[in-house]
Amino acid sequence: MADKMDVEAVNGAKEAERVGPAPDLAADRIITNNFALLNSAVDAFDPRFTLRALRSISTLRKAADFPDALAIAIRTAFPRPQNNARRVLEEMLPERLRGEQGTDNANGGAASKDPDLVEIAEVWAYLGVLCQVYLYDTQQYDKGASFSDNFVEKVRSFNRRTMDPIGAKAYFYYQLFHEHLAPLPPSKQSPVIDIRPRLLAALRSAVLRKDPDTHAAVTVLLLRNYLSTADITQADLLVAQTQFPSSAANTQVCRYLYHLGRIRAIQLAYTDAHANLESATRKSPTTGPAAGFYQQATKLRIVVELLMGDIPPRSLFRHPTLEAALAPYLPLVHAVRIGDLQAFLATTTTHAALFRADGTATLIARLRQNVLKTGIRMLSLAYSRISLREICRRLGISTEESAEYIAAKAIRDGVIPSSSLDHAHGHLATRLPGEAYTTTEPCDAFHSRVEALLAMRDESVRAMRYPVDKHRRVAAEAALARERERELETAIAEGDEEDLGDDGEGGF
């Protein structure tokens, strides 16, 4: 199921790629440096600074002294030990760090030269997210859930646009904690169901406040929430009733597309599902912490492709990050490709537990008919006439009647369009296929490729980012240039007059 995959991995990859600047810095320095970033984010009203601060989380959580660093950072931000916010945050840390409260006044005093920091709610929220990360990594799910309950409510009450990226993260951990509380999700009593109203409320406020970060994050979380308890109808309704923000971060788009692909696959809308999953796998980073997401999405995509009657390319199974994960799917694809029902059944029974864990088992069960169809197609390609008894024997069908119906259905569904059945003699006859180039097929194939490329170009154009207010500056420059030109013109005109005057003087 979806919760098996490491969804947060998508974020991780981005972080790992760009975290570069200060890998050797001590964890507490990184956090305090981030305060400055948050500060400038608020001053410049530019969410990119906030994002940069959030990106370092993955480095921080791996640091050995993360809790200590967090304690130092909290004290730096809130020098007064009796500060309420500081007490709440420190509650979350291990005992030994909490105890130092009294003795640490010197440190607090040193940091108080920067009192402005405390006033910024973003710093507080950022520390809150770090606390969530710490609690999650140390598996204190109960504590984390109750802390997050209050935390997200508080974050929501602030209603500051510079807080949005942090708020989105907060909701993410909020859901993650509840997913780990007993009874675990597939059960209908899971706590994830209880947090739905809260998430829906968050979604509503995010839409009203034009807050694309929280909007996208909460939509994805709700989908994940619904799918974890197999409430596919609700998930489908949510997709139908909401609009995913177009300016959402790439990672959120990936997850959204993955969940959407999953819903569509369950509803048998394979073409839609495939389009979504393909975009999800293309947009997703293929290495680093996002590998888990990439593998999971690719598995689903392979099964959907098979259900559509396509065979995924062999090169996909040789991809370094995918090779091991896709190993059980390779014999499956082989069986479908050559239409070998026995091999197909053998594969599904050997890897049954694994397919179930991946959440692809029910989809794979639907593949049986595709195996039969491919089998019949292979036979009809190889023989211009073949008896139904032989079809039964080759494909492992129990009776000739079944074989006849299956073949008839294959003909109607266009799997073997140039074949026909002869009931009296009990055989399937196939006319030689015509020359493909006399049909419109090459033209259609060409058209679909051109369409795909043009769509990709359009998307790339739309995805380009331009600096804020650039056009105004350009306009101002143009106005300035015009001004200068006019000055020049007047100068020239005056000069001319003067010249004229000179000439006149000289002439006379």
């Binding site: 008919q369 259905k409 009296a424 051109v450």
Partner: protein, 273 residues
């Protein structure tokens, strides 16, 4: 007071003979009123377990009797109402244990979805079942396995298997038999549309077996209803010829499409360059 009334009505419904089943809706609406008085028609967080059990029994009777009366809308309503009871945790049911008809009602609902051709809904419900109660339990449940087997046979096209399954002794309970007729009609029209494409022509005697019809007269009647031509003891399929003609025309018609596409490319190129 209301509790006794519900118990009484349940007994009355229980004693209904198949011939008098038409009285069931009346009794059920009285029972539902009584349940409303007990405030248990929708399970609340504090509803006692014996009331829960009463309510589920009434609703299950309602579901099963509406199937017998072929009132599928009423059945769907009862099914939706039962969902909120079925999703309660085991400890809420007390020592009485969970109600016994859950898989039967779910199986019937699956079959209903199948008979109206709502495959997306079918798979959605099935996916939910596998997630919530686990694969092993589903595999061992005859009431659920029956529609699952039927769906598989329908999808792969082994219509003879569907035919065998809908025969008397393979049907898990008599409520499931109600759908047999619908399903046979479904597969018959499926087979007909397949045959139109698959056979150039078909002897009437063979068509009788293929379409699971009783007599050659019925075959001819069926052929007429589909617009097939029956002559010299064979059936010919006029649609097929029409489609062949249409395919020939297609090549001519596609030149318009080619022009349209090419113009489209040109326009796009202009925006790019």
């Amino acid at each position: 007071m209301a509790e006794n009334e519900v118990k009484q009505i349940i007994q009355q419904i229980d004693s209904l003979k198949p011939t008098t089943i038409s009285q069931a809706p009346q009794l059920l609406s009285r029972a539902k009123l009584a349940l409303l008085k007990l405030n248990t028609l929708v399970p609340g967080p504090k509803t006692p377990s014996q009331h829960l059990l009463l309510a589920t029994t009434v609703l299950e009777y309602g579901a099963l009797s509406s199937i017998r009366l072929k009132d599928t809308d009423a059945f769907t309503r009862y099914y939706q109402q039962l969902q909120s009871f079925y999703s309660l945790p085991a400890e809420r049911w007390g020592h009485a244990g969970r109600p016994g008809n859950q898989s039967k009602v779910t199986g019937l609902y699956l079959l209903l979805l199948l008979s109206v051709g709502d495959y997306a809904g079918f798979h959605t419900v099935l996916e939910g079942l596998e997630m919530s109660s686990g694969k092993e339990q589903i595999d061992g449940d005859e009431f659920i396995q029956y529609p699952v087997r039927l769906e598989q046979a329908l999808m792969e096209g082994s219509y003879d298997k569907v035919w065998v399954e809908t025969k008397g002794e393979r049907v898990p309970s008599d409520e499931f038999g109600v759908f047999s007729e619908v399903l046979i009609n479904t597969i018959r029209s499926e087979i007909a549309s397949c045959s139109e494409r698959a056979y150039p022509s078909l002897p009437i005697s063979n068509a009788k077996n293929l379409l699971f019809l009783d007599s050659e007269g019925a075959v001819i009647q069926f052929a007429q209803s589909r617009g097939w031509v029956a002559k010299d003891g064979r059936i010919y399929f006029p649609q097929q010829e029409e489609e062949n003609m249409a395919a020939d025309k297609d090549v001519m018609a596609s030149s318009g499409l080619v022009i349209e596409n090419t113009l489209g490319y040109a326009r796009k190129l202009e925006t790019i360059v």
